[in-house]
């Protein structure tokens, strides 16, 4: 496989499904671990685990584009936030049932993603990055200023979970199952023939074009679907937080999602959860001990970038192959 022009970030495309049994058993073990995990944790830690899953799904949706289509988006935080806004608005202002509101939120996010992709798929590299950044900022501006609908600076509040879902552990289960299904969908998507065309585009847009593929249409579908995934995560977040404000659609949200992807390893999909766990845990633990927690986070990122530029999963993978005496990963 040819190394993409995106440099280190895109070069670590996931290995071909050589040993699906291995992958499957790891996933099964992980799921089993996650299901018993909550028995050992306090309510707050279960909440944190829920958040890690939700943001992991967001990071994964970014990875679908960044790792496989070579398009690094800074609009996914905004798409994620739009879903959260729509869900809470629909429940509190329109009086729709939470489930219907959730679907509406996902549809809304997908539409926004479709709109964004119409504007941005023709660009690539840094131009794509800047375009999506600008689009995300527009959403943020609207959420901040359209006070009648979005509540402006104060955001929207509501109580979305009722009955059994109020219990943190039950909600964790629901999120675990939803995120597992969602990641399965993303995993299948990037391995589907269509997903392979995205990888082809990542490697060489002109070659795919000359082979007769409608490159822009493929990217449009890819972006929209990845927006759909981010939207599902955003909808779940609305239920988790019962609250949404402009900070949920701000640039920082997109950057944080992207950082999770990078820390976990771009192109590894499941690394997103590692990244999300690493960042959220660090944030929560370190900020209780020092006001300088952002500096600590910054230093950790720099260390990761220097010593594990291919992300934690990538680093672990190359470490394992060396220890087991296998040939280094295929390019």
């Amino acid at each position: 496989m040819r190394v993409g022009h995106q440099g280190a970030a895109a070069s670590v495309v996931a290995p071909a499904p050589t040993r699906p049994i291995w992958t499957a058993s790891i996933v099964v073990l992980l799921l089993a671990g996650l299901t018993i995990l909550h028995l050992l944790l306090s309510n707050y830690q279960v909440g944190l685990a829920t958040e890690i899953l939700i943001f992991g799904a967001l990071a994964m949706s970014i990875d679908v584009l960044a790792g496989f289509a070579g398009r690094t988006s800074l609009a996914h935080g905004a798409i994620f936030g739009v879903a959260a806004y729509v869900v809470i608005y629909a429940v509190t202002q329109l009086g729709i049932t939470p489930v219907a509101a959730f679907l509406l939120g996902v549809v809304g996010a997908t539409l926004v993603a479709a709109l964004f992709s119409l504007v941005s798929v023709r660009a690539s590299g840094v131009y794509f990055l800047l375009l999506t950044l600008a689009l995300g900022m527009i959403v943020w501006g609207i959420c901040l200023r359209w006070t009648d609908v979005t509540g402006g600076e104060n955001g929207l509040r509501g109580t979305l979970r009722s009955g059994l879902l109020r219990d943190a552990r039950v909600f964790y289960w629901v999120v675990l199952v939803s995120v597992a299904l969602l990641s399965l969908a993303m995993w299948r998507f990037v391995r589907s023939p269509f997903g392979l065309t995205l990888r082809g585009i990542c490697d060489s847009e002109s070659r795919m074009h000359s082979l007769g593929y409608n490159v822009h249409f493929h990217l449009f579908i890819g972006f929209t679907l990845s927006g759909f995934f981010a939207g599902v995560a955003g909808g779940l977040y609305a239920f988790f937080n019962n609250f949404v404000s402009p900070s949920s659609v701000a640039l920082l949200q997109s950057v944080q999602g992207l950082l999770m992807t990078i820390v976990g390893g771009v192109g590894t999909l499941f690394g997103s959860f590692i990244g999300s766990a690493a960042i959220l845990t660090l944030q929560n633990v370190v900020s209780s001990y020092t006001e300088r927690w952002q500096s600590v986070l910054g230093i950790v990122f720099i260390v990761i970038m220097i010593f594990a530029p291919e992300g934690l999963i990538g680093a672990a993978r190359s470490f394992l192959t060396r220890v087991l005496g296998k040939h280094p990963r295929r390019r």
Partner: protein, 419 residues
């Protein structure tokens, strides 16, 4: 590379697990302390105010030996990062992991509203000495959210509007930051002022973090008005007051302001450009009564600065809650009793120098000072009362039920009386 990488990653994981283990080790230190969760923005746009909040809280509890009703007090301080999502995360952590008995703090309205929405679900008492969002003690009040030693945004600008009328002002122009704290403070003044026969000539709303006010100042210079009302927070306040003076408007058009614009956190960095500005508030550091002056002197001695609203409010809020806990005999585990005790407690001997009670909606009733910024003998500036409005309700002179039927103040609703 390989070995180095291994060493690095194991090193990092040891550090991480070490940090993770610390809270478990320290958890069993004391028998049964009263645990108080303090949320304050120690990073982000309002970090300076957040640090003063922590100072004020610690100053009070240190002053009483960190003991209330025979029980030790344990303050667990968390940074809300000036961000509502972080505030919510930290509130969850304090309640569900640290098992605090109650929460207090937060600075920005959006962080307070987010936390209030969370405690509404689980009933944890939440005290907000700084959060001024009107509706938390009005249309959207929550049983377990009490504004001890705090104020609702429009409560002090109502009397300021009345005061402006009494000065003979008939035409006022307002300049304000464009967010709900600004809308509410402006609305309070505008409603009372227009209902009393005044006219609002124009209202400028500018985004937070406006660097250059000259477009507004130019228009103000060309408009014939009796006074300008300004509501600014943080760096905007400093910039506005400096540019107002630089434009030559100071001394030409009287400036009246929301209390936070001439708060110590702003004017301690300013020179004569802040002198003479009139605002209305419950607290005036220059008030001529012994308790206030003792508090100011002690604070000045300890922190080398005159206390701001943030330090003062958290100090007094902590005092209020402490009085209530004393009354309960230290039984903070009974939430309902704690809330009831706080509600029925009268704050005495606070730096305000006057007793304060809560109204039935959980908002304090203050004697409101109209204050003027004056120069002290040592060259520092402070707010000195020039007039007092006794027993001001958050509903001013309106009937609470009627008042709450009108929409909350916003950019589109300022309570302007059509004449």
């Amino acid at each position: 590379m390989n070995r180095r990488q291994f060493l690095k990653s194991t090193g990092v994981s040891f550090v991480v697990s070490g940090i993770g283990a610390a809270p478990w080790i320290s958890a069993h230190a004391d028998a049964a302390p009263i645990k108080i969760g303090v949320l304050a923005p120690l990073t982000g746009v309002v970090a300076a105010g957040g640090r003063e909040m922590v100072e004020g809280t610690q100053f009070y509890f240190d002053g009483i030996g960190n003991k209330v009703a025979g029980r030790n007090v344990e303050l667990i301080i968390e940074d809300d990062a000036s961000n509502p999502d972080t505030a919510l995360q930290k509130a969850r952590k304090l309640v569900e992991q640290s098992n605090v008995h109650f929460l207090m703090g937060n600075l920005l309205a959006n962080t307070g509203l987010a936390v209030a929405n969370y405690v509404k679900e689980n009933g944890t008492p939440y005290f907000i000495p700084i959060i001024a969002a009107d509706d938390l003690t009005q249309r959207g009040r929550i049983n377990n959210v009490i504004r001890v030693a705090g104020y609702s945004a429009s409560a002090f600008t109502h009397p300021l509007g009345d005061w402006a009328l009494k000065q003979g002002y008939r035409r006022i122009l307002t300049v304000s930051q464009d967010y709900s704290f600004g809308h509410e403070q402006c609305g309070g003044l505008v409603q009372v002022f227009t209902e009393g026969g005044g006219e609002i000539v124009q209202q400028f709303w500018h985004p937070l973090n406006t660097a250059d006010f000259s477009p507004y100042l130019g228009q103000i210079a060309n408009t014939k008005v009796d006074a300008v009302f300004v509501m600014e927070n943080g760096a905007d306040a400093t910039r506005f007051l400096q540019q107002y003076a630089n434009f030559g408007l100071k001394g030409q058009i009287p400036l009246i302001s929301a209390m936070n614009t001439t708060d110590q956190s702003i004017i301690r960095t300013l020179g004569p450009e802040c002198e003479g500005i009139v605002s209305a508030a419950h607290f005036a550091e220059g008030a001529d009564n012994p308790t206030t002056q003792k508090f100011v002197a002690d604070y000045l001695a300890k922190f080398n600065k005159i206390p701001s609203l943030f330090g003062f409010s958290m100090y007094s809020g902590a005092m209020w809650i402490t009085l209530a806990i004393e009354k309960l005999g230290g039984n903070v585990e009974d939430r309902e009793a704690l809330l009831a005790a706080v509600r029925s407690t009268e704050l005495i001997d606070s730096p305000l120098g006057k007793p304060v009670k809560l109204d039935p909606y959980g908002n304090p009733i203050y004697d409101v000072y109209v204050r003027k910024v004056l120069r002290r003998a040592d060259g520092k500036f402070w707010n000195v009362p020039i007039e007092t409005y006794p027993n001001v309700s958050q509903f001013w002179k309106y009937d609470p039920e009627t008042y709450m039927k009108q929409p909350p103040y916003s950019r589109t609703f300022q309570g302007i009386k059509k004449s």
